[in-house]
Subunit: 354 residues, 4 copies
């Protein structure tokens, strides 16, 4: 497995859903950043289980401890190790899944690849792994803040219900993190209904970055777009990513899709920003706009047809505690990954010129 991401600002996550603990090591964070654990906890709480009626009721507090890399409240340049101990894992619900493959999950592919797997709560393939991403993302945000750059995200669409208005202040005012309060209400209702029906819903997360300096991205393979692609599609349950107009651009024309340059207040702008903030794989200074397709939770509490390790057909019922839609909790994870990509590219960009 490859559990590291980043060139200079680099995180390594570890831990399983039902193991004793989860953690992350962040290498390459510059020295001199004031960092307090509560700043990290703030993001972790937005990702935490059990935060609302639309998330899984597993009762983890997900408290972070900083074990290294920070001295007297300031980063030293040394690797920052963060840990949280699992408290509320209930492995008994997984005993019947030891030898059987849950549809939509990684059970079969892990078993086939590694020959041996921790089946409890999905083991390493569980979305609990994203705890470390969000923790590292909080540190990445501090790096970005040093240049006035900020990342935020929201649920654009859940269960086919799309937002129609945008009020950034509204995002954290509802439990699905939708910037359109009216749409949010419908989304909540849809998720609760899916839950009642022992089903689940997918959706679209949008993440944006503002105040991004011009110049971030390392063509040709570490373009900003490319690293966003890797980052987002490494998140569990994601199936697609697009930047700016994305797939809609594929249906446009060159003349309509180009963003004209203008000079504005002493800056060069491409304000129509159909490109979503990148040109040639490098940030243009416009807002970065990324959308991520999140599939409906694979764990649904209805009987499903599958096979076991002996290739015998089995009907299974996936118990355990699950999110009827992971979209609201995927928002801080997508934010974290965008922040990490940008922080890494910000540091790399310091080497662009002599």
């Amino acid at each position: 497995m490859a559990s590291s991401f980043g060139r200079i600002f680099r995180l390594t996550t570890w831990g399983e859903s039902h193991g004793p603990a989860l953690g992350v090591v962040v290498e390459g964070c510059p020295a001199g950043i004031a960092l307090h654990v509560e700043e990290i906890q703030h993001d972790l709480d937005r990702r935490r289980v059990g935060q609302s009626a639309v998330t899984t009721p597993r009762g983890e507090k997900d408290r972070a401890q900083i074990l290294s890399g920070v001295f007297e409240g300031v980063t030293t340049g040394a690797p920052i190790s963060l840990i949280t101990y699992n408290a509320d894992a209930d492995s008994s619900k997984y005993d019947n899944l030891r030898d059987v493959f849950r549809p939509g999950h990684a059970d079969y592919t892990y078993w086939a690849k590694y020959g041996h797997r921790d089946h409890r709560g999905g083991g390493r393939s569980s979305a609990r792994e994203t705890w470390g991403r969000v923790a590292a993302g909080a540190i990445a945000r501090k790096v970005l803040a040093s240049v006035g750059c900020e990342v935020f995200g929201f649920a654009r669409e859940i269960g086919g219900i799309a937002m129609e208005t945008f009020d950034r202040a509204a995002i954290e005012q509802n439990i699905v993190r939708c910037p359109d309060p009216a749409a949010a209400e419908k989304m909540v209702a849809a998720v609760l209904q899916a839950k009642a029906e022992k089903n689940s819903l997918g959706g679209v997360v949008e993440v944006r970055a503002i105040g991004v300096p011009v110049g971030l991205g390392e063509p040709t393979f570490d373009k900003l777009d490319a690293l966003i692609g890797q980052a987002m599609l490494s998140i569990p349950a994601t199936k697609g990513v697009e930047i700016g107009e994305g797939f809609a651009a594929a249906r446009s024309t060159g003349f309509a899709n180009n963003d004209p340059f203008v000079a504005e207040n002493g800056r060069i702008r491409a304000g129509s920003n159909r490109a979503g903030g990148t040109l040639g794989g490098i940030s243009s200074g416009e807002e970065i706009v990324v959308r991520v397709a999140v599939k409906p939770t694979s764990s649904v509490a209805r009987p499903q047809q599958t096979v076991d390790v002996n290739m015998q057909p089995r009907e299974i019922l996936v118990e355990g505690r699950h999110d009827p839609s992971v979209v609201p909790r995927a928002v801080p994870v997508c934010e974290a990954m965008l922040a990490i990509v940008l922080a890494d590219l910000l540091l790399l960009n310091r080497a662009a010129r002599i």
Copy 2:
């Protein structure tokens, strides 16, 4: 810049649109593969300019030479260096663009990042860089062939016209590379009309891999999906990527979207394959299905509004020779990147178990 991609099977591309030559170095290709330059040339000819009425008329032959890594027709494990000399670059068409930023292009971001740029034909940001990707991809295909794995691609949609039928044999029978001959005809007409109107069209490329062994992908950050995301979004003009049902999965439910497992001829299958061949970031043995959004060519031969390096407004006319739609030529590039990702993961997978 970062011009390398891959962990074990690793390519490094170099060269500018109007420089003396372009090339690629492939490290980590296993020894013992019979490799002839004509196999590489076959793919390069599918990417080549001037191959049809819907591509740019620039007259490059794009002939590859193998300069290292192959002895007596067989790879030695040493880096394979491939080169092609530029022959038909016409830099005069770019003199007027030296100090001005073409909308939709990387001119501005390169200038801002590097302070200095080769403006001729887009320099390093030109899609001519993909020559090396396709050459390396041809070698990756040989690696994949050793396990019976094969990659192919096609135009799924151009200018809003989508394929409706699928006949793999038809793909290379038409100049847009569409597996639906009727749709192909409409696509060709649409591209020619856009060309006549000095405009351009985008579209959707689909690439697939068959015969993929179970187990390719290195969670959590080098998941098969994640590396596909990076690979595809590193290609010029791409704005989105999705796997399997992709964004459509975001509108489905867990119960409907899960692929049930069944045993079939001694293999475990998830044949409905809404997942597009990956589970938990690891290949499931089902067909890999990837779709890539390609924006309409930014170079359109109409006057456009922009600014120059002194932030003065300018109207420009982008001359040079351009593809009215890059979709047909993007097909072999997307194929190459998928082949490279899979070849790399195939080699990495050898280390999965003791």
Copy 3:
């Protein structure tokens, strides 16, 4: 900082001398290895402080906990996280060193590079960081054991006293880890005398690997020799490394230095092995022989001249608890690094041929 090492089998260490804990994450360990924490602890105990009269009396137990990557006693392929909590750090001894630079230590360079540092016990630059290396090395040994390869090491020379006989069984029978019992006695006496004189001694560690398969090493930059060079010179207090005859080969002739090949029991051998087990950067199947120069401990309990952060001259007395010679404890660290290099190259070598 860059706290990771390895291509496939990759460790990331974290932690400071007086922080709450130290740890390591090992990525890329193959699945299917039986692994018990006591196997790791065995090596850690050989590295542990306070193990004898020639080591520092700091009273850490250095107990390892496995937090991830092992399920039911067997590795899963997931990252293996190991942690130990610091118990006996006495930071009060370092208060007077907060603003002053100890000669021979990293205080000045860390301060100049990072602007801010954890001065307690050397912070990140402390040799306590090697806890994680030895823990990871124990896992690497298990990988190597799968092919019958074994690593061991010893003190070849301390304070100018060199071993003259070699009895592998004697190594762990004396507290300096010397395979020559008579020399060991003299070494112990020399170290104790240096300690009494508030001084310290250096020496030469030798590490060897037996049962190494032919073929490990990735020319030209990841040659076996090159990675050994990086690995050994990344260990605190090391100042030189040589392989086989090493610097003595520089004084030999080609005819005398070449190892003739012979066939022996169905194997090709270069048994005179002046090369130390590598040819062209690749293991030859002969014993790997590496020697590492270890400088005398920089912390000596005598007054020394130095300057402070304001460039004012200061006389300091370095208190704290220190090894009068680090050579005995460097043995397991050098072994660990050789094991890690070989395990990584063993896994990489699986990709050498189609």
Copy 4:
């Protein structure tokens, strides 16, 4: 194989001794450096075959061409591709070596690892590979020059004859590159005698860097010392490396070996510099001093005992054209590698602090 080196400033070499060409791609060179091919050629000529009576008479001109990355005489940030075509390869001398293993060479290990090899002139394992290193090193020197840092090297010892005086100006005045003219004379005589006796000599190369900024090195695994170790031991024919006092430090005491800090002209200095310019793996601002053990050339024109691929004993005579001592030509190669390490760390160091 792994033919790349460096984190940001990264080179990839390719090519075989008797292939059509050799080359290197340099990624990550900052934009804005004036670069002319003659600057590169200057170093290449110092490495070139046939330059004097003590080097092989193979008649390569080794002329470099710049194929990318430089526009109007200035680097653009894009990968810089450099190539030289082989002109004077005489493969006929190697026909009899196709199936036999030359002692001291990589023939056997390449064959065992890859199953198939280019036997002509050593193929990929030939020291001709170092052409690309020297070319890349010339570019690295330009990066270093931007901060006033300079690298130089010399033969410290050949065939047991050591320099006794140091006059930097004398280095390039004699064909062995020794800074002691009297010793140089003896070295030349010794090399010519070895040549006459169909034998060869080893020696010690010393490389130094002056004007190095404080702060270069990325603990703990990419310490300056560690990367120097990897860099030097990746060069063909090297068997050892030491920094500062090196192995002599192993025989010293802590009190004698520590370099006291003093303030001098507004700078903190450790002028006795027994450490060789690094503390804790980070440059201290003092001169970097590195010594490299170079073994005697393995190709000696006397009959030698060996075996063939069928394990049959064979007596062979290694023809071809060889250096009776590679030390003089190893000087620019070691310089290049030190320059590359420093340039890379210089760029990485820009990310050390917020």
